[in-house]
Protein backbone atom coordinates (compact mmCIF):
# COMPACT_ATOMS: atom_id res chain seq x y z
CA UNK A 1 0.00 0.00 0.00
CA UNK A 2 1.54 3.22 -1.10
CA UNK A 3 1.72 6.27 1.08
CA UNK A 4 -0.38 8.23 -1.42
CA UNK A 5 -3.23 5.80 -0.98
CA UNK A 6 -3.09 6.04 2.81
CA UNK A 7 -3.01 9.83 2.60
CA UNK A 8 -6.00 9.87 0.24
CA UNK A 9 -7.98 7.52 2.44
CA UNK A 10 -7.32 9.78 5.41
CA UNK A 11 -8.33 12.87 3.45
CA UNK A 12 -11.55 11.15 2.42
CA UNK A 13 -12.54 9.84 5.85
CA UNK A 14 -11.23 12.20 8.51
CA UNK A 15 -13.48 15.13 7.49
CA UNK A 16 -16.51 12.86 7.98
CA UNK A 17 -15.32 12.04 11.48
CA UNK A 18 -14.89 15.73 12.28
CA UNK A 19 -17.79 17.40 10.52
CA UNK A 20 -20.63 15.12 11.56
CA UNK A 21 -19.93 15.02 15.30
CA UNK A 22 -19.68 18.83 15.18
CA UNK A 23 -23.01 18.96 13.43
CA UNK A 24 -24.32 16.57 16.09
CA UNK A 25 -23.44 19.04 18.81
CA UNK A 26 -25.18 21.80 16.91
CA UNK A 27 -28.23 19.61 16.26
CA UNK A 28 -28.74 18.80 19.94
CA UNK A 29 -28.89 22.53 20.61
CA UNK A 30 -31.22 23.07 17.64
CA UNK A 31 -33.52 20.29 18.76
CA UNK A 32 -33.76 21.52 22.33
CA UNK A 33 -34.46 25.04 21.14
CA UNK A 34 -37.08 23.95 18.61
CA UNK A 35 -38.84 21.60 21.03
CA UNK A 36 -38.86 24.39 23.60
CA UNK A 37 -40.49 26.76 21.13
CA UNK A 38 -43.15 24.14 20.29
CA UNK A 39 -43.86 23.63 23.99
CA UNK A 40 -43.89 27.35 24.73
CA UNK A 41 -40.62 27.30 26.68
CA UNK A 42 -37.32 29.08 26.16
CA UNK A 43 -34.86 26.20 26.03
CA UNK A 44 -31.15 26.39 26.82
CA UNK A 45 -30.15 30.05 26.91
CA UNK A 46 -27.55 30.49 29.65
CA UNK A 47 -24.30 28.87 28.52
CA UNK A 48 -22.48 31.26 26.24
CA UNK A 49 -18.83 31.59 25.35
CA UNK A 50 -17.40 28.62 27.24
CA UNK A 51 -14.26 28.61 29.38
CA UNK A 52 -14.27 32.38 29.81
CA UNK A 53 -15.58 34.68 32.50
CA UNK A 54 -17.99 36.18 29.95
CA UNK A 55 -19.92 32.90 29.65
CA UNK A 56 -23.14 34.21 31.05
CA UNK A 57 -22.92 37.73 29.73
CA UNK A 58 -22.72 36.87 26.04
CA UNK A 59 -25.05 33.92 26.06
CA UNK A 60 -25.30 33.61 22.24
CA UNK A 61 -28.73 31.93 22.51
CA UNK A 62 -27.19 29.16 24.63
CA UNK A 63 -24.92 27.91 21.86
CA UNK A 64 -22.34 26.77 24.41
CA UNK A 65 -24.80 24.23 25.81
CA UNK A 66 -23.57 21.22 23.76
CA UNK A 67 -20.03 21.72 25.05
CA UNK A 68 -21.24 21.93 28.63
CA UNK A 69 -23.30 18.77 28.08
CA UNK A 70 -20.28 16.98 26.68
CA UNK A 71 -18.08 17.90 29.63
CA UNK A 72 -20.81 16.84 32.05
CA UNK A 73 -21.15 13.45 30.32
CA UNK A 74 -17.39 12.89 30.41
CA UNK A 75 -17.12 13.46 34.15
CA UNK A 76 -20.16 11.49 35.20
CA UNK A 77 -19.75 8.23 37.04
CA UNK A 78 -19.85 5.05 35.00
CA UNK A 79 -22.26 2.69 36.73
CA UNK A 80 -22.44 -0.95 35.66
CA UNK A 81 -25.10 -3.16 37.30
CA UNK A 82 -23.69 -6.01 39.36
CA UNK A 83 -25.31 -8.77 37.32
CA UNK A 84 -24.56 -7.16 33.98
CA UNK A 85 -22.50 -8.83 31.30
CA UNK A 86 -19.56 -6.46 31.64
CA UNK A 87 -17.99 -7.09 28.23
CA UNK A 88 -21.21 -6.64 26.28
CA UNK A 89 -22.23 -3.71 28.44
CA UNK A 90 -19.03 -1.98 27.35
CA UNK A 91 -19.18 -3.09 23.71
CA UNK A 92 -22.79 -2.12 22.99
CA UNK A 93 -22.38 1.70 22.85
CA UNK A 94 -19.26 1.32 20.72
CA UNK A 95 -21.05 -1.06 18.38
CA UNK A 96 -23.92 1.42 18.18
CA UNK A 97 -21.61 4.16 16.96
CA UNK A 98 -19.47 2.23 14.46
CA UNK A 99 -22.11 1.34 11.84
CA UNK A 100 -23.56 4.84 11.98
CA UNK A 101 -20.13 6.36 11.36
CA UNK A 102 -19.29 3.77 8.72
CA UNK A 103 -22.28 4.43 6.51
CA UNK A 104 -21.39 8.12 6.23
CA UNK A 105 -18.74 7.00 3.74
CA UNK A 106 -21.48 5.85 1.37
CA UNK A 107 -23.01 9.30 1.01
CA UNK A 108 -21.92 11.10 -2.16
CA UNK A 109 -20.56 14.09 -0.27
CA UNK A 110 -17.88 15.61 -2.46
CA UNK A 111 -15.74 17.94 -0.43
CA UNK A 112 -13.79 20.55 -2.41
CA UNK A 113 -10.48 19.09 -1.30
CA UNK A 114 -11.29 15.57 -2.56
CA UNK A 115 -11.03 16.54 -6.24
CA UNK A 116 -7.51 15.26 -6.76
CA UNK A 117 -7.90 12.02 -4.85
CA UNK A 118 -7.46 8.50 -6.08
CA UNK A 119 -10.93 6.97 -6.34
CA UNK A 120 -11.05 5.85 -2.71
CA UNK A 121 -14.49 7.17 -1.79
CA UNK A 122 -16.86 4.42 -0.79
CA UNK A 123 -19.83 5.94 -2.62
CA UNK A 124 -18.11 5.03 -5.87
CA UNK A 125 -18.55 1.37 -4.91
CA UNK A 126 -20.75 -0.56 -7.24
CA UNK A 127 -23.16 -1.59 -4.52
CA UNK A 128 -23.00 1.45 -2.26
CA UNK A 129 -26.75 1.61 -1.60
CA UNK A 130 -27.05 -2.04 -0.67
CA UNK A 131 -23.99 -1.70 1.57
CA UNK A 132 -25.66 1.22 3.27
CA UNK A 133 -28.72 -0.84 4.14
CA UNK A 134 -26.64 -3.82 5.22
CA UNK A 135 -24.53 -1.81 7.63
CA UNK A 136 -27.36 0.31 9.07
CA UNK A 137 -29.02 -2.95 10.03
CA UNK A 138 -26.16 -3.69 12.42
CA UNK A 139 -27.44 -0.95 14.69
CA UNK A 140 -30.19 -3.32 15.82
CA UNK A 141 -27.61 -5.70 17.19
CA UNK A 142 -26.01 -3.01 19.30
CA UNK A 143 -29.37 -2.11 20.78
CA UNK A 144 -30.20 -5.70 21.54
CA UNK A 145 -26.74 -6.18 23.03
CA UNK A 146 -27.27 -3.19 25.33
CA UNK A 147 -30.70 -4.44 26.34
CA UNK A 148 -29.53 -7.94 27.08
CA UNK A 149 -26.24 -7.07 28.77
CA UNK A 150 -27.85 -4.67 31.25
CA UNK A 151 -29.64 -7.53 33.03
CA UNK A 152 -32.67 -5.36 33.50
CA UNK A 153 -36.26 -6.22 32.61
CA UNK A 154 -36.94 -2.86 31.00
CA UNK A 155 -33.71 -2.85 29.05
CA UNK A 156 -34.50 -6.26 27.60
CA UNK A 157 -38.03 -5.17 26.71
CA UNK A 158 -36.60 -2.14 24.93
CA UNK A 159 -34.11 -4.32 23.06
CA UNK A 160 -36.78 -6.75 21.93
CA UNK A 161 -39.02 -3.90 20.83
CA UNK A 162 -36.13 -2.43 18.86
CA UNK A 163 -35.50 -5.68 17.01
CA UNK A 164 -39.16 -6.23 16.16
CA UNK A 165 -39.56 -2.65 14.98
CA UNK A 166 -36.41 -2.53 12.90
CA UNK A 167 -37.05 -5.83 11.15
CA UNK A 168 -40.56 -4.67 10.22
CA UNK A 169 -39.61 -1.24 8.96
CA UNK A 170 -36.48 -2.27 7.10
CA UNK A 171 -38.64 -3.92 4.43
CA UNK A 172 -40.61 -0.82 3.33
CA UNK A 173 -37.39 1.19 3.67
CA UNK A 174 -35.51 -0.98 1.18
CA UNK A 175 -38.50 -1.49 -1.12
CA UNK A 176 -39.03 2.25 -1.46
CA UNK A 177 -35.37 2.70 -2.37
CA UNK A 178 -35.75 -0.04 -5.00
CA UNK A 179 -37.87 2.32 -7.12
CA UNK A 180 -34.99 4.77 -7.47
CA UNK A 181 -32.47 2.02 -8.09
CA UNK A 182 -34.76 0.65 -10.80
CA UNK A 183 -35.10 4.03 -12.50
CA UNK A 184 -31.37 4.79 -12.50
CA UNK A 185 -30.29 1.23 -13.16
CA UNK A 186 -27.44 1.44 -10.68
CA UNK A 187 -26.70 0.90 -7.01
CA UNK A 188 -23.83 3.37 -7.15
CA UNK A 189 -24.64 6.39 -4.96
CA UNK A 190 -22.70 8.84 -7.12
CA UNK A 191 -24.51 7.69 -10.26
CA UNK A 192 -27.89 8.00 -8.55
CA UNK A 193 -27.08 11.55 -7.50
CA UNK A 194 -25.83 12.46 -10.99
CA UNK A 195 -28.94 11.04 -12.63
CA UNK A 196 -30.99 13.72 -10.89
CA UNK A 197 -29.16 16.71 -12.31
CA UNK A 198 -31.19 19.60 -13.82
CA UNK A 199 -33.98 19.35 -11.26
CA UNK A 200 -34.90 15.80 -12.31
CA UNK A 201 -35.27 14.94 -8.65
CA UNK A 202 -37.13 11.75 -8.01
CA UNK A 203 -39.31 13.41 -5.43
CA UNK A 204 -40.97 15.33 -8.31
CA UNK A 205 -42.37 12.15 -9.89
CA UNK A 206 -45.51 10.45 -8.51
CA UNK A 207 -43.77 7.17 -7.70
CA UNK A 208 -40.76 9.06 -6.36
CA UNK A 209 -42.96 11.13 -4.08
CA UNK A 210 -44.73 8.04 -2.73
CA UNK A 211 -41.39 6.29 -2.26
CA UNK A 212 -39.94 9.34 -0.51
CA UNK A 213 -42.82 9.51 1.97
CA UNK A 214 -42.57 5.78 2.70
CA UNK A 215 -38.79 6.03 3.00
CA UNK A 216 -38.99 8.96 5.38
CA UNK A 217 -41.56 7.28 7.65
CA UNK A 218 -39.65 4.00 7.66
CA UNK A 219 -36.38 5.77 8.36
CA UNK A 220 -37.95 7.46 11.38
CA UNK A 221 -38.77 4.01 12.71
CA UNK A 222 -35.35 2.69 11.79
CA UNK A 223 -33.51 5.28 13.87
CA UNK A 224 -35.97 5.21 16.80
CA UNK A 225 -37.16 8.75 16.32
CA UNK A 226 -40.46 9.92 17.68
CA UNK A 227 -43.29 8.92 16.99
CA UNK A 228 -41.61 5.51 16.64
CA UNK A 229 -39.43 5.75 19.75
CA UNK A 230 -41.00 2.73 21.43
CA UNK A 231 -37.68 1.06 22.30
CA UNK A 232 -36.89 4.02 24.54
CA UNK A 233 -40.42 5.00 25.56
CA UNK A 234 -39.83 6.78 28.84
CA UNK A 235 -43.44 6.60 29.99
CA UNK A 236 -43.56 2.83 29.58
CA UNK A 237 -40.14 1.25 30.04
CA UNK A 238 -38.02 3.94 31.74
CA UNK A 239 -35.44 4.58 29.02
CA UNK A 240 -35.60 1.23 27.24
CA UNK A 241 -32.32 -0.31 26.24
CA UNK A 242 -30.11 2.39 27.77
CA UNK A 243 -31.79 2.43 31.17
CA UNK A 244 -28.62 1.12 32.81
CA UNK A 245 -26.21 3.38 30.95
CA UNK A 246 -24.69 6.51 32.37
CA UNK A 247 -21.90 8.92 31.69
CA UNK A 248 -19.95 8.64 28.50
CA UNK A 249 -21.48 5.34 27.41
CA UNK A 250 -24.84 7.06 27.37
CA UNK A 251 -23.32 9.91 25.38
CA UNK A 252 -22.02 7.42 22.82
CA UNK A 253 -25.54 6.03 22.35
CA UNK A 254 -26.80 9.56 21.92
CA UNK A 255 -24.08 10.36 19.39
CA UNK A 256 -24.73 7.14 17.48
CA UNK A 257 -28.42 7.92 17.25
CA UNK A 258 -27.84 11.38 15.84
CA UNK A 259 -25.16 10.23 13.41
CA UNK A 260 -27.58 7.57 12.18
CA UNK A 261 -30.10 10.36 11.73
CA UNK A 262 -27.64 12.28 9.54
CA UNK A 263 -26.76 9.14 7.60
CA UNK A 264 -30.31 8.09 6.79
CA UNK A 265 -31.31 11.66 5.92
CA UNK A 266 -28.25 11.78 3.69
CA UNK A 267 -29.40 8.65 1.90
CA UNK A 268 -32.88 10.16 1.46
CA UNK A 269 -31.24 13.27 -0.03
CA UNK A 270 -29.15 11.11 -2.36
CA UNK A 271 -32.03 8.95 -3.50
CA UNK A 272 -34.85 11.45 -3.79
CA UNK A 273 -33.69 15.03 -3.36
CA UNK A 274 -31.00 15.24 -6.01
CA UNK A 275 -27.91 14.76 -3.85
CA UNK A 276 -25.78 17.88 -3.95
CA UNK A 277 -27.72 19.47 -6.81
CA UNK A 278 -28.97 23.02 -6.40
CA UNK A 279 -28.71 26.51 -7.80
CA UNK A 280 -25.19 27.80 -8.32
CA UNK A 281 -23.46 24.41 -8.22
CA UNK A 282 -22.34 24.65 -11.86
CA UNK A 283 -20.43 27.87 -11.15
CA UNK A 284 -19.11 26.97 -7.69
CA UNK A 285 -18.61 23.22 -7.26
CA UNK A 286 -18.07 23.46 -3.49
CA UNK A 287 -21.68 24.62 -3.14
CA UNK A 288 -22.80 21.02 -3.68
CA UNK A 289 -21.49 20.09 -0.22
CA UNK A 290 -23.36 23.01 1.27
CA UNK A 291 -26.57 22.04 -0.51
CA UNK A 292 -26.22 18.43 0.58
CA UNK A 293 -25.87 19.35 4.24
CA UNK A 294 -28.62 21.97 3.95
CA UNK A 295 -30.99 19.32 2.60
CA UNK A 296 -30.04 16.96 5.42
CA UNK A 297 -30.88 19.71 7.88
CA UNK A 298 -34.21 20.37 6.18
CA UNK A 299 -35.15 16.72 6.77
CA UNK A 300 -33.90 16.88 10.36
CA UNK A 301 -36.01 19.96 10.95
CA UNK A 302 -39.06 17.96 9.88
CA UNK A 303 -38.02 15.18 12.28
CA UNK A 304 -37.75 17.63 15.16
CA UNK A 305 -41.10 19.12 14.24
CA UNK A 306 -42.72 15.66 14.20
CA UNK A 307 -41.16 14.87 17.56
CA UNK A 308 -42.70 17.99 19.01
CA UNK A 309 -46.17 17.35 17.65
CA UNK A 310 -46.98 13.66 17.31
CA UNK A 311 -47.77 11.27 20.18
CA UNK A 312 -46.07 7.89 20.34
CA UNK A 313 -47.61 4.88 18.59
CA UNK A 314 -48.82 1.77 20.37
CA UNK A 315 -47.01 -1.48 19.64
CA UNK A 316 -49.92 -3.03 17.75
CA UNK A 317 -50.43 0.16 15.73
CA UNK A 318 -46.72 0.18 14.93
CA UNK A 319 -46.75 -3.36 13.53
CA UNK A 320 -50.04 -2.89 11.71
CA UNK A 321 -48.81 0.27 10.06
CA UNK A 322 -45.67 -1.40 8.73
CA UNK A 323 -47.17 -4.65 7.50
CA UNK A 324 -50.66 -3.63 6.43
CA UNK A 325 -50.07 -0.15 5.07
CA UNK A 326 -46.45 0.62 4.15
CA UNK A 327 -45.55 -2.80 2.74
CA UNK A 328 -48.47 -3.16 0.24
CA UNK A 329 -48.13 0.46 -0.80
CA UNK A 330 -44.41 0.17 -1.48
CA UNK A 331 -44.87 -3.05 -3.48
CA UNK A 332 -47.59 -1.41 -5.56
CA UNK A 333 -45.33 1.59 -5.99
CA UNK A 334 -42.64 -0.58 -7.56
CA UNK A 335 -45.16 -2.05 -10.03
CA UNK A 336 -46.56 1.39 -10.91
CA UNK A 337 -43.08 2.80 -11.40
CA UNK A 338 -42.13 -0.08 -13.70
CA UNK A 339 -45.21 0.31 -15.88
CA UNK A 340 -44.92 4.08 -15.98
CA UNK A 341 -41.28 3.92 -16.99
CA UNK A 342 -42.03 1.60 -19.89
CA UNK A 343 -45.06 3.64 -20.96
CA UNK A 344 -43.01 6.82 -20.93
CA UNK A 345 -40.42 5.35 -23.28
CA UNK A 346 -42.92 5.56 -26.16
CA UNK A 347 -45.06 8.46 -25.00
CA UNK A 348 -44.36 12.15 -25.22
CA UNK A 349 -45.95 15.45 -24.29
CA UNK A 350 -49.61 15.20 -23.32
CA UNK A 351 -49.56 11.39 -22.95
CA UNK A 352 -46.73 11.69 -20.49
CA UNK A 353 -48.75 14.08 -18.37
CA UNK A 354 -51.72 11.67 -18.44
CA UNK A 355 -49.50 8.82 -17.25
CA UNK A 356 -48.25 10.99 -14.42
CA UNK A 357 -51.71 11.96 -13.27
CA UNK A 358 -52.91 8.35 -13.54
CA UNK A 359 -49.98 7.14 -11.42
CA UNK A 360 -50.64 9.79 -8.84
CA UNK A 361 -54.33 8.88 -8.68
CA UNK A 362 -53.62 5.13 -8.42
CA UNK A 363 -51.14 5.64 -5.60
CA UNK A 364 -53.40 8.07 -3.75
CA UNK A 365 -56.44 5.81 -4.12
CA UNK A 366 -54.45 2.83 -2.88
CA UNK A 367 -53.21 4.74 0.13
CA UNK A 368 -56.76 5.85 0.91
CA UNK A 369 -58.11 2.34 0.37
CA UNK A 370 -55.50 0.74 2.61
CA UNK A 371 -56.27 3.32 5.24
CA UNK A 372 -60.00 2.49 5.04
CA UNK A 373 -59.30 -1.24 5.12
CA UNK A 374 -57.20 -0.91 8.25
CA UNK A 375 -59.57 1.42 10.00
CA UNK A 376 -62.14 -1.08 11.39
CA UNK A 377 -59.25 -2.93 12.98
CA UNK A 378 -58.33 0.07 15.07
CA UNK A 379 -60.08 -0.53 18.34
CA UNK A 380 -59.15 -0.31 21.99
CA UNK A 381 -56.39 -2.69 22.89
CA UNK A 382 -57.32 -6.02 24.45
CA UNK A 383 -55.13 -6.62 27.46
CA UNK A 384 -53.96 -10.15 28.10
CA UNK A 385 -52.33 -9.78 31.48
CA UNK A 386 -54.10 -6.73 32.87
CA UNK A 387 -57.58 -5.43 33.36
Amino acid sequence: MSLDLIRDILIATVPLLVIFPTLFAFTTWLERKALARIQNRVGPNKVGVPLTRYGGRFSLFGLGQPLADGIKMLFKENIVPRDADRLFHLLAPILALIPAMLVLCFLPLEFPWTESLLPVQAFLLDGAVIFFFAITGLNTLAIFMAGWASHNKYSLLGGMRAIAQMISYEIPLVLSAVVVVMMVGSLNAAEIANAQADWNWFVFTPWGLAAFVIFFIASLAEINRSPFDLPEAESEIIAGYFTEYSGFKFALFFLGEYIAMFAISGLAVTLFLGGGAGPGVAALPWLSTVWFIAKIFALIAVMIWLRGTLPRLRVDQLMGFAWKFLLPLSILNIIVAGFAWHAQQQASGILKAIIWVACLLILYATAKGLDQLNRPNVRPREYKYAE
Binding site: F88, L141, I163
Partner: protein, 173 residues
Protein backbone atom coordinates in the same frame (compact mmCIF):
# COMPACT_ATOMS: atom_id res chain seq x y z
CA UNK B 1 1.32 -6.94 0.51
CA UNK B 2 -1.48 -5.10 2.28
CA UNK B 3 -3.96 -7.57 0.81
CA UNK B 4 -1.92 -10.36 2.35
CA UNK B 5 -2.02 -8.73 5.78
CA UNK B 6 -5.75 -8.10 5.50
CA UNK B 7 -6.34 -11.67 4.36
CA UNK B 8 -4.48 -13.21 7.29
CA UNK B 9 -6.09 -10.89 9.82
CA UNK B 10 -9.59 -11.57 8.52
CA UNK B 11 -8.92 -15.30 8.37
CA UNK B 12 -7.66 -15.32 11.94
CA UNK B 13 -10.75 -13.39 13.09
CA UNK B 14 -13.01 -15.77 11.20
CA UNK B 15 -11.42 -18.89 12.67
CA UNK B 16 -11.40 -17.46 16.19
CA UNK B 17 -15.02 -16.32 15.85
CA UNK B 18 -16.09 -19.74 14.65
CA UNK B 19 -14.22 -21.45 17.50
CA UNK B 20 -15.75 -19.20 20.14
CA UNK B 21 -19.20 -19.69 18.59
CA UNK B 22 -18.87 -23.44 18.97
CA UNK B 23 -17.19 -23.54 22.37
CA UNK B 24 -19.16 -20.96 24.37
CA UNK B 25 -21.85 -22.24 26.70
CA UNK B 26 -23.49 -18.85 26.79
CA UNK B 27 -25.77 -18.85 23.76
CA UNK B 28 -25.89 -15.07 23.30
CA UNK B 29 -22.10 -14.86 23.33
CA UNK B 30 -22.07 -17.70 20.84
CA UNK B 31 -24.42 -15.92 18.46
CA UNK B 32 -22.38 -12.72 18.59
CA UNK B 33 -19.20 -14.70 17.95
CA UNK B 34 -20.94 -16.27 14.96
CA UNK B 35 -21.75 -12.79 13.71
CA UNK B 36 -18.09 -11.81 14.01
CA UNK B 37 -17.33 -14.83 11.85
CA UNK B 38 -19.90 -13.70 9.26
CA UNK B 39 -18.48 -10.18 9.26
CA UNK B 40 -14.94 -11.49 8.71
CA UNK B 41 -16.24 -13.63 5.88
CA UNK B 42 -17.81 -10.56 4.33
CA UNK B 43 -14.44 -8.83 4.58
CA UNK B 44 -12.85 -11.74 2.75
CA UNK B 45 -15.42 -11.39 -0.03
CA UNK B 46 -14.59 -7.70 -0.21
CA UNK B 47 -10.93 -8.58 -0.63
CA UNK B 48 -11.93 -10.66 -3.65
CA UNK B 49 -13.70 -7.56 -5.03
CA UNK B 50 -17.08 -9.29 -4.75
CA UNK B 51 -18.82 -6.27 -3.24
CA UNK B 52 -22.35 -7.45 -3.81
CA UNK B 53 -21.76 -10.82 -2.17
CA UNK B 54 -20.06 -9.04 0.73
CA UNK B 55 -23.02 -6.71 1.23
CA UNK B 56 -25.51 -9.57 0.95
CA UNK B 57 -23.44 -11.58 3.41
CA UNK B 58 -23.92 -8.83 6.00
CA UNK B 59 -27.54 -8.17 5.06
CA UNK B 60 -28.69 -11.79 5.11
CA UNK B 61 -26.44 -13.55 7.57
CA UNK B 62 -25.95 -10.89 10.22
CA UNK B 63 -29.08 -8.83 9.62
CA UNK B 64 -31.56 -11.65 9.18
CA UNK B 65 -30.19 -15.05 10.25
CA UNK B 66 -28.36 -13.71 13.29
CA UNK B 67 -31.33 -11.75 14.55
CA UNK B 68 -33.62 -14.73 14.00
CA UNK B 69 -31.22 -16.80 16.10
CA UNK B 70 -31.42 -14.17 18.83
CA UNK B 71 -35.21 -14.29 18.68
CA UNK B 72 -35.19 -18.05 18.97
CA UNK B 73 -32.77 -17.94 21.90
CA UNK B 74 -34.89 -15.42 23.76
CA UNK B 75 -37.76 -17.91 23.60
CA UNK B 76 -35.73 -20.65 25.29
CA UNK B 77 -34.94 -21.11 28.94
CA UNK B 78 -31.50 -20.94 30.55
CA UNK B 79 -29.98 -18.59 28.02
CA UNK B 80 -26.71 -18.09 29.81
CA UNK B 81 -25.88 -21.76 30.31
CA UNK B 82 -23.10 -22.48 32.76
CA UNK B 83 -19.67 -21.53 31.61
CA UNK B 84 -18.01 -23.70 34.20
CA UNK B 85 -18.80 -27.02 32.59
CA UNK B 86 -16.42 -28.17 29.89
CA UNK B 87 -17.86 -29.03 26.53
CA UNK B 88 -17.07 -32.67 25.95
CA UNK B 89 -18.52 -35.23 23.65
CA UNK B 90 -17.68 -38.83 23.09
CA UNK B 91 -17.18 -38.83 19.35
CA UNK B 92 -14.45 -36.24 19.26
CA UNK B 93 -11.78 -38.65 18.02
CA UNK B 94 -13.74 -39.77 14.95
CA UNK B 95 -14.78 -36.20 14.33
CA UNK B 96 -11.13 -35.21 14.25
CA UNK B 97 -10.37 -38.07 11.87
CA UNK B 98 -13.17 -37.04 9.51
CA UNK B 99 -12.08 -33.40 9.60
CA UNK B 100 -8.49 -34.34 8.82
CA UNK B 101 -9.66 -36.62 6.03
CA UNK B 102 -11.74 -33.86 4.46
CA UNK B 103 -8.75 -31.54 4.65
CA UNK B 104 -6.30 -34.01 3.14
CA UNK B 105 -8.55 -35.56 0.50
CA UNK B 106 -10.65 -32.61 -0.64
CA UNK B 107 -9.08 -29.30 0.31
CA UNK B 108 -5.37 -29.97 -0.08
CA UNK B 109 -5.55 -31.17 -3.71
CA UNK B 110 -7.84 -28.23 -4.51
CA UNK B 111 -5.35 -25.75 -3.08
CA UNK B 112 -2.45 -27.38 -4.88
CA UNK B 113 -4.27 -27.52 -8.21
CA UNK B 114 -4.96 -23.79 -8.27
CA UNK B 115 -2.53 -21.51 -10.06
CA UNK B 116 -0.90 -18.94 -7.79
CA UNK B 117 -3.40 -16.13 -7.12
CA UNK B 118 -3.05 -13.07 -9.28
CA UNK B 119 -3.78 -9.53 -8.24
CA UNK B 120 -7.55 -9.22 -8.44
CA UNK B 121 -8.93 -6.99 -11.17
CA UNK B 122 -12.13 -5.02 -10.75
CA UNK B 123 -14.83 -6.78 -12.73
CA UNK B 124 -16.56 -3.98 -14.56
CA UNK B 125 -20.05 -3.41 -13.14
CA UNK B 126 -20.34 -6.68 -11.31
CA UNK B 127 -23.70 -5.92 -9.69
CA UNK B 128 -25.28 -5.05 -13.02
CA UNK B 129 -23.88 -8.20 -14.61
CA UNK B 130 -25.26 -10.25 -11.73
CA UNK B 131 -28.67 -8.65 -12.13
CA UNK B 132 -28.76 -9.42 -15.86
CA UNK B 133 -27.75 -12.99 -15.17
CA UNK B 134 -30.49 -13.37 -12.57
CA UNK B 135 -33.10 -11.96 -14.95
CA UNK B 136 -32.07 -13.73 -18.12
CA UNK B 137 -30.76 -17.29 -17.79
CA UNK B 138 -31.71 -17.91 -14.19
CA UNK B 139 -35.12 -16.27 -14.00
CA UNK B 140 -36.97 -19.59 -13.65
CA UNK B 141 -34.75 -20.67 -10.77
CA UNK B 142 -35.28 -17.33 -9.10
CA UNK B 143 -39.05 -17.56 -9.44
CA UNK B 144 -39.15 -21.14 -8.17
CA UNK B 145 -37.12 -20.04 -5.15
CA UNK B 146 -39.49 -17.16 -4.56
CA UNK B 147 -42.45 -19.55 -4.75
CA UNK B 148 -40.80 -21.88 -2.26
CA UNK B 149 -40.16 -19.04 0.16
CA UNK B 150 -43.73 -17.78 -0.18
CA UNK B 151 -45.02 -21.27 0.54
CA UNK B 152 -42.78 -21.45 3.59
CA UNK B 153 -44.07 -18.08 4.76
CA UNK B 154 -47.71 -19.07 4.35
CA UNK B 155 -46.98 -22.35 6.12
CA UNK B 156 -45.36 -20.49 9.00
CA UNK B 157 -48.35 -18.16 9.34
CA UNK B 158 -50.77 -21.10 9.32
CA UNK B 159 -48.70 -22.97 11.88
CA UNK B 160 -48.47 -19.90 14.09
CA UNK B 161 -52.22 -19.34 13.98
CA UNK B 162 -52.87 -22.81 15.35
CA UNK B 163 -56.21 -24.56 15.39
CA UNK B 164 -59.16 -22.28 15.95
CA UNK B 165 -61.43 -23.69 18.61
CA UNK B 166 -65.00 -22.49 18.08
CA UNK B 167 -66.27 -20.47 21.01
CA UNK B 168 -68.63 -22.33 23.27
CA UNK B 169 -71.96 -20.67 23.89
CA UNK B 170 -71.87 -19.49 27.48
CA UNK B 171 -71.12 -22.95 28.80
CA UNK B 172 -69.68 -21.62 32.02
CA UNK B 173 -72.87 -20.04 33.25
Amino acid sequence: MSEQIAFWMLSAIAVLGALVAVRKRNLIHGVFALMIFFAALSGLFLLLLAEFIAAVQILVYIGAVGILLLFAIMLTERVTGDDGRRMTSRGWFWGLVVAAAVFVILLLPAIQELPPPEAAQAIDPSVKELGHKLMNPYVVTLEVLALLLTAALIGAVTAAQGVRIPKEEDSSE
